[in-house]
Amino acid sequence: MAPRWKGKDAKAKKDAEAEALKEPMSKMVSQLQSSLVQFDTRGFLSGNLCYSLKCLKINGSDTGPQNDQELGHYMKSKKETFLCFYKAHSLLKMKNWVVRPGAQYGADFVVHRYHPSRVHSEYGVLVLSDGDDKDLNGRLRVWSDVHCTTRLLGSVTKILLVLYVNKNDNNNESPLCLANYTVEERTITR
């Protein structure tokens, strides 16, 4: 599927394409990373910045920065499937896709090939846990779910991409065990 550029006419789409190719996402992420490290920025969200890019620290409500173990445990207490989602999200970011919330399309994420202001997203992404945690996310359990999701995404010119995350018997809550998680990517089309 070719990227679908944003713009009100052919010339605007051409301009969006030229700008996007000039500034690939890996370059932007690198710039963000160095600026955050430089100013020792702290925040309350974004595990991606904290754990993967090592440029953000998370404070507890009344303590100093939390380590990865504490952070992982806390996140999992809020959402049981957090590590699966984090692994899937990390995979997409590592491949330099722009990941955005997909709730309005009935998906977990949507991913853009370039900056979202320039190009429409190509995939609606669902994260499904596999192995011991099978079906924990409660999606695509019956055929009507498959019909519903493929039709909804198809109507907005996106393809359903399913990321099956298998934790391979790791019950550790530390993000370190993410290295042992595996992800299988599949598209579902009708």
């Binding site: 491949k95 099978k134 493929t150 990517e185 599949r186 009708r190």
Partner: protein, 148 residues
């Protein structure tokens, strides 16, 4: 832009096999009939020319009832795709385009993988049929590209 002339022979009887015959190879076939499977020449011969722009054979002279249900119509002309132009035999049809698994419940990823291993590389589609409505779903393994 026209390639070699090709002909298809068809017959009015119930035989629904279609044979490819390349006109320029006719003498060669005659001289080496011992080394190739013997082709049966039908009396209702059609003629076509390969159209490079269309990527299909344009049927110039069509004979036989098979053109009622065969071919692709574009701008009033009838074309034959390359699959239709090749020799096709019921007894030796070649690999199918895909295999179809009729399913009632939604198969899990592990079940799909097990089915795929039985398909020997041929694409698999999962078929769901409910109250006369039929859907073919593809669950294709992909590798999302790493972007620049």
């Amino acid at each position: 832009m026209e390639g070699k002339a090709r002909g298809c022979s068809s017959s009015e009887d119930s035989d629904d096999e279609v044979y490819l015959q390349n006109a320029s190879d006719e003498d060669e076939l005659g001289s080496s009939s011992g080394s190739m499977p013997k082709l049966q020449f039908r009396n209702m011969k059609s003629k076509g020319c390969w159209n490079e722009e269309m990527g299909m054979g344009e049927v110039i002279e069509k004979n036989g009832k098979m053109w009622v249900t065969t071919g692709i119509v574009r701008s009033g002309k009838i074309y034959s795709s390359i699959e239709e132009t090749f020799r096709f035999r019921k007894s030796s049809p070649g690999d199918p385009s895909f295999l179809l698994y009729l399913s009632r419940g939604h198969p899990s990823r592990a079940e799909i993988e097990a089915l795929e291993r039985q398909c020997g590389g041929i694409p698999l589609k999962i078929c769901l049929a409910t109250e006369g409505r039929v859907s073919f779903f593809s669950f294709d393994k992909v590798e999302l590209p790493v972007l620049p």
